[in-house]
Assembly symmetry: C2
Homo-oligomer: 272 residues x 2
Amino acid sequence: MRIGFQGIRGAYSELALYRHFGRSVESVGFGSFEEVFEALADRRVDFGFVPVENTIAGTVVENYDLLLSQECRIIAEAFMKIRHTLLAPHGASIGQIRAAWSHPHALKQCREFLRQHRIEAVPKYDTAGAARMIADENRPDCAAIASELCAEIYGLDILAKDIHSNKTNTTRFLVVARHDNLPEKIVCEKTSLVFITRHYPGALVDCLKIFQKYALNLTKLESRPIPENPWEYVFYTDFDSGTDTGPARNALAELRETARFVKLLGSYPKGS
Amino acid sequence: MRIGFQGIRGAYSELALYRHFGRSVESVGFGSFEEVFEALADRRVDFGFVPVENTIAGTVVENYDLLLSQECRIIAEAFMKIRHTLLAPHGASIGQIRAAWSHPHALKQCREFLRQHRIEAVPKYDTAGAARMIADENRPDCAAIASELCAEIYGLDILAKDIHSNKTNTTRFLVVARHDNLPEKIVCEKTSLVFITRHYPGALVDCLKIFQKYALNLTKLESRPIPENPWEYVFYTDFDSGTDTGPARNALAELRETARFVKLLGSYPKGS
């Protein structure tokens, strides 16, 4: 089974992908999220695995736009805490390290640790790329900040674990599939959809009343106004039920009457 | 007048700040958004100027969290298109440039331009920092991708303008003030607030019905569920009216009855 993700080997997305699917799958890295969705459509991968929300950075707008424009379906979600690791060539000790290479976000999240150890922060394109470079250059005074998966992939030693300050930094990932390759049996506990409201005052409330009527708890609700059309909104919504229950079926049918546009993105098991 | 922003001199935030306030104000850069709010509270600056939304990256969650937790008020908003510029030491020509230094986001947005000109992308902490380093190193084969304000500040030549692919990349900024330093006359056309719904099914709809009842058009609506408490949401909302009108006053009074918590962030003129 081939799973597409954005990044190079050892990226946090790949680590989350292995945690979700197990290590027997083949992970395939792409340069952009768009390329992941293209590879899925072209059958170069069986499933795509993309981040959609992070507790620090918020919603990954680009992936929601792709979910809206592409023909595919969400079949699962997965949550992963982002835990940064200091990685160096074999034999290096933490006292020797003068510089740490990583993505600016990761460097920022580890600022306290770097200050304590008097290590200079050196920005690179991404965390896994920094780990690969550290392995290539093999200097005893330089380390990378990346996932612990990078230790294994690039043959580096782990000098320190959990070196980030914010211990709750969590990313939510989605597994996306083609319509002709959906799993046969899927436990539907949660549903994601996008809808666009009609163009009149209160259109929004009329749509949300439907979820209230059928007691569907919204676990995500994010809207973007359509600037040219007052009262119109694109809504990204998750609710706590599969589409195979009576209330959810009725709610979706009524939403299709009330909203200008509804796209069901998928119904899938709750992730942990 | 002293205005705080996050970044070093020449950052896009500083350019937007000058466009909004004019060049006679004193801009003061800080290392983090939190420090901007601290400096505002401590009277080291008169106003803060922070980004809250970007068309590519979405909401700046950190600044909304600060608006919620800090004692301050929004008094204005400003929109700015992000236009990337290629900057090099005096006398360099574009044919000589082999490497461009910048923040990974900016490099990504200019990927097409760099490919066409066979320029290597070199990641740095931020755009303005890259421009400062280019000026310090003074090498004829290296350029920075940054705001055109950096040309003036660091004495660099503009080799190319508008080198980004996405021409609609726009950031929305807010001006925040202390309660004891609010402008005397402020045109109230738009209002921002945060509220938390009560803990029962439909609590959300009950809150939104109030805006419908008073025909207040929501130009922003973003919610974050409170994971431990189903049916409870934190809502970030803007509507198209000042708080000095009858409908807005009534709506706010009813919202205070219906929601568990309401914080008015400010009422201010519409930005352009």
